[in-house]
């Protein structure tokens, strides 16, 4: 593997170690190691079918996988998806997957509320569940749409609702799976600023996108995935110059 595997003192906020995902005979992720630090925006790029989404699915518990997922020193890889989210590991979905029957505000509020029996008792005896909108709505400029339903918004803005939902409740790491698809150039640039803002509070961000400008401009470090393996990792400048990356994207044999 090309070097530049950073060696920083101490453990990162999110550590993914030797993660392997198999679908039948197909290996979607093959021994992937990846780390995200506090306040760091990490990019993940690679051609279609490289295993980016499968990595997100595995890390968040939606796909069975071998390997370790450690968030802030705590092993998460045996937990079901909702427990990982409550531990602070959040994600968005490529297809949006918003709750069609809930308003934008409720799509976000459902992620932070009290749950189960506690929620039930609070509903009957306590005060109304209508609380002030989550700060993530304002951050993503969605306050005006708070009372609309997702299908009343453009696809790009629906993506942003998904992002707001992942940020809600102070999640410590968010994995963004193609959040900028459907945004035009200006919106995409503005979204880049938002991604930087997310990280300023010490949150770790993993950004998957096909918009190379966005990824290379916003990220501190970038991982490149091809055929399920990490083939490169480094700063955007290093990645731009990496022969293996160019080959993976252009489909040529890497120049040794």
């Amino acid at each position: 593997m090309p070097s530049s595997e950073h060696d920083r003192g101490g453990a990162a906020l999110l550590e993914i170690r030797d993660l392997t995902v198999r679908y039948g005979g197909v290996v979607a992720n093959d021994g992937v190691n990846l780390a995200i630090d506090r306040g760091e925006v990490v990019g993940l790029i690679g051609p279609n079918g490289a295993g980016k989404t499968s990595l997100v699915d595995a890390v968040t518990g939606f796909t069975a996988a071998d390997g370790e997922v450690v968030l802030d020193g705590r092993r998460l890889d045996r937990l079901p998806p909702h427990r990982r989210r409550r531990a602070g590991l959040a994600r968005t979905w490529q297809a949006g997957e918003l709750f069609a029957d809930l308003t934008v505000a409720d799509n976000v509020a459902v992620a932070v509320q009290r749950r189960g029996w506690a929620g039930l008792v609070a509903d009957v005896l306590g005060r109304s569940a209508r609380t002030a909108p989550d700060p993530s709505l304002e951050m993503l400029g969605l306050l005006d749409d708070a009372d609309r339903r997702p299908d009343e918004l453009s696809l790009g803005r629906q993506r942003l609702v998904g992002v707001a939902r992942a940020l809600a409740g102070g999640s410590s790491v968010v994995l963004l799976d193609e959040p900028a698809a459907g945004l035009d150039t200006d919106e995409s640039e503005a979204f880049g600023d938002v991604v930087r803002t997310m990280a300023t509070s010490g949150r770790g961000v993993l950004l998957i996108d096909h918009d190379m400008n966005l990824v290379l401009n916003v990220c501190d470090r970038v991982y490149v995935l091809d055929f399920g393996r990490v083939i490169a990792c480094g700063t955007p400048t290093e990645i731009r110059a990496d022969a293996a990356v160019v080959a993976a994207y252009l489909g040529e044999e890497p120049v040794a």
Binding site: G61, F62, R85, D106, A109, V110, L120, A129
Partner: protein, 649 residues
């Protein structure tokens, strides 16, 4: 040994019907993705048509009749017409009901096929003279000796027919181009259409053929099984159990499993005659078999049972959480109090029953409308409440209102148990589990003499602080104090439920309904929340069952049959399963409620009630999935929208 052989062969006739239903279910599922709950009813209609022809030579149609012979029709004619009517019913079900719903949510498909099932089973006692009818023998009556037992030749022929049907169906799917195309339509209907096949015609062929096959085996087997206005309808459950064992894939495995269930039930019958067999398991134990099989099959195979892909699924009817409008609530309460005070006799009884039914309808709104879990077991939970109520009041003297809470908690426990499969399965499969569970509870618990004393399950009247809240007082059929007590209980629970639906719980329910994966990704414990929904829903139904019990003075099993439960589902769906208002309207429409009282007392057509409910359900499912309250709301939103846009001009 000979007794064993005898009982094994006694199970052949019923087992053959299970087998043909099971293989038909698999075939129809392969062709259309539908689990047809009406397959048993399709058999029922053919059986009665053939029996009537064999007895009087009259061909009974759903409307009208034709005299085709003076006196009994020849056996071959009777059988042929019986089979043809089953086939036609199946074809019409496809063309008029299921085909228009082919891209509808699972809920619509399930309620529509349940509607057809109810429609036929309600029509049979109206169109046929079901008292004392006997199916004339069709097959030779001889016996042959097998391993020392006398076995009826007729049963062996019926068995042979069912197996032949299964083999032919399997061969059709495997070896013919049409069959291959039909299987392909289950994979991707659009792609099949692009290759020049018509999935609709292939599906119609499968519906027609399986309808005929089911009719044939049932008609020929009916002299040995017996004529009954209902039982064939519920043979669909063992059929479904067998189809699930075959993972909805193999027609042959389904047929074999269906036959095995029939034989197994017959063997259970034999076991129950032995001394060592416990008394409590003598009655109704056989009916729990399909439920246990369904539970195990779904748990073992779980996700490997195919759910149909392809055509994009339409969304469930939309939900608008209730808003706080105390004015409306007060108006409804005031109207109800007025209705209680201004009525008497059977009308007041109807009003009170409507109030109670509203609570059980609400349990369906919460579970099915909000959480998206299709449950056909609401009345069984209610019945459990009533059943336990009888115990705690007569044997332990538990006072009111604790006497409501304890039975409701028992129903809650049962609700969670029936809900456990919902953690692995959804949609139509869940409906199968809940229906099987409801039937098991009905026959094994309510209908079991071991659990029900001779004098019935009596219930002591409630009193509170020396105040008599009993339903009867002298000649008064329904006392004001009882009616008001019901109103207070139901009103309080409805208020609490409205707060839940508006609050965090409703939010997580709706999140799970629209997208379970995404719900888990925002930290919602999907499994726990589903069980919470089942628990809460069963609690509401359990309280409702207690109130029904109090209103009767004893637990009447007839109030809680699967039939009543399905009829209630009809009314809730017709009224609008996604809203509080829908539950209120459903209460008015519900069995024994205000509408039923009106039909019975004023129009004198109470016997048509379930037929009307079934027709309304089918029509609603096909044409107006948002129900009555949903279309009223849509109309008013439309009006408001027009007014505001006009004001802006």
């Amino acid at each position: 040994m000979d007794q064993l052989v005898l009982f094994v062969t006694l199970g052949f006739a019923v087992g053959a019907v299970y087998a043909v239903i099971a293989s038909s279910l698999v075939a129809v599922h392969a062709a259309t993705g539908v689990l047809n709950f009406a397959q048993g009813s399709i058999a029922l209609w053919g059986v009665w048509v053939a029996a009537e022809l064999g007895a009087t030579g009259t061909l009974i149609l759903p409307i009208g009749s034709v005299q085709i012979a003076d006196g009994p029709a020849p056996t071959t004619v009777a059988v042929a017409i019986g089979v043809a009517s089953s086939a036609l019913v199946a074809l019409l079900t496809h063309l008029l009901v299921m085909r228009p719903l082919r891209s509808a949510p699972a809920l619509s498909q399930v309620v529509a096929s349940v509607g057809v099932m109810l429609l036929i089973v309600s029509l049979v006692p109206l169109r046929f003279d079901t008292t004392g009818a006997v199916a004339a023998p069709i097959l030779p009556s001889g016996t042959i000796e097998v391993l020392g037992a006398q076995v009826a030749v007729a049963d062996l022929i019926v068995l042979g027919l069912a197996l032949t049907v299964a083999v032919l169906l399997a061969a059709y799917f495997r070896f013919t181009r049409w069959g291959t195309a039909t299987r392909a339509s289950a994979e991707d209907e659009t792609a099949l259409r692009l290759t020049g096949w018509s999935p609709d015609r292939l599906a119609a062929l499968v519906w027609f053929t399986t309808g005929a096959a089911t009719g044939l085996v049932a008609v020929v087997g009916s002299p040995s099984i017996g004529l009954d206005p209902i039982s064939y309808t519920f043979y669909v459950l063992p059929g479904l159990a067998a189809a699930l064992i075959a993972r909805l894939r193999s027609v042959l495995v389904a047929a074999a499993a269906g036959l095995a269930i029939g034989v197994f039930q017959s063997l259970l019958m034999m076991m129950s005659t032995y001394d060592f067999w416990p008394v409590w398991a003598q009655a109704g134990f056989g009916e729990t078999v399909p439920f246990l099989i369904v539970m195990v099959a779904l748990f073992v195979f779980g996700r490997s049972i195919p759910e149909r892909g392809g055509v994009q699924t339409l969304r469930m009817p939309p939900v608008r959480p209730p808003r706080t409008r105390p004015v409306y609530a007060l108006v409804v309460v005031a109207a109800t109090v007025a209705a209680i005070l201004l009525t008497e006799g059977s009308w007041r009884f109807g009003v009170v029953t409507s109030i109670i039914m509203m609570l059980i309808a609400l349990s369906l709104v919460v579970l099915t409308g909000y959480l998206g879990q299709i449950s056909l077991a609401a009345m069984a939970f209610a019945g459990t409440g009533g059943f336990v109520l009888s115990r705690v009041t007569t044997e332990y003297g538990v006072p009111f209102p604790l006497s409501l809470v304890l039975p409701a908690l028992a129903a809650t426990v049962l609700g969670v148990i029936v809900g456990i499969p919902a953690l692995r399965i959804r949609g139509a499969h869940l409906a199968v589990v809940t229906l099987a569970g409801a039937l098991a509870i009905q026959t094994f618990v309510f209908g079991n003499p071991a659990f029900t004393p001779y004098e019935g399950n009596l219930i002591e009247d409630p009193t509170l602080f020396g105040l008599d809240l009993g339903v009867r007082s002298g000649t008064v059929l329904t006392t004001t104090s009882f009616a008001l007590m019901v109103l207070v209980v139901v009103g309080t629970l409805t208020w609490a439920t409205a707060r839940l639906m508006r609050g965090r719980t409703g939010r997580s329910f709706l999140a799970i309904r629209s997208n379970e994966r995404a719900a888990a990704s925002v930290g919602i414990d999907v499994a726990g929340t589903k069980l919470l929904g089942f628990a809460f829903s069963a609690f509401l139904a359990g309280i409702g069952g207690c109130l029904i019990g109090y209103s009767r003075g004893q637990l009447s099993v007839e109030s809680f049959t699967v039939f009543v439960g399905l009829t209630l589902l009809c009314t809730v769906y017709v009224a609008g399963i996604t809203s509080l208002a829908g539950a209120v309207v459903a209460g008015l429409l519900a069995p024994l409620g205000v509408l039923a009282t009106f039909l019975e007392g004023t129009l004198g057509v109470g016997h048509l009630y379930s037929l009307i409910a079934a027709i309304a359900l089918v029509v609603t499912a096909v044409l107006n999935p948002v129900g009555i309250t949903g279309s009223v709301r849509q109309a008013s939103e439309h009006l408001i929208h027009r007014r505001t846009t006009r004001a802006q001009l």
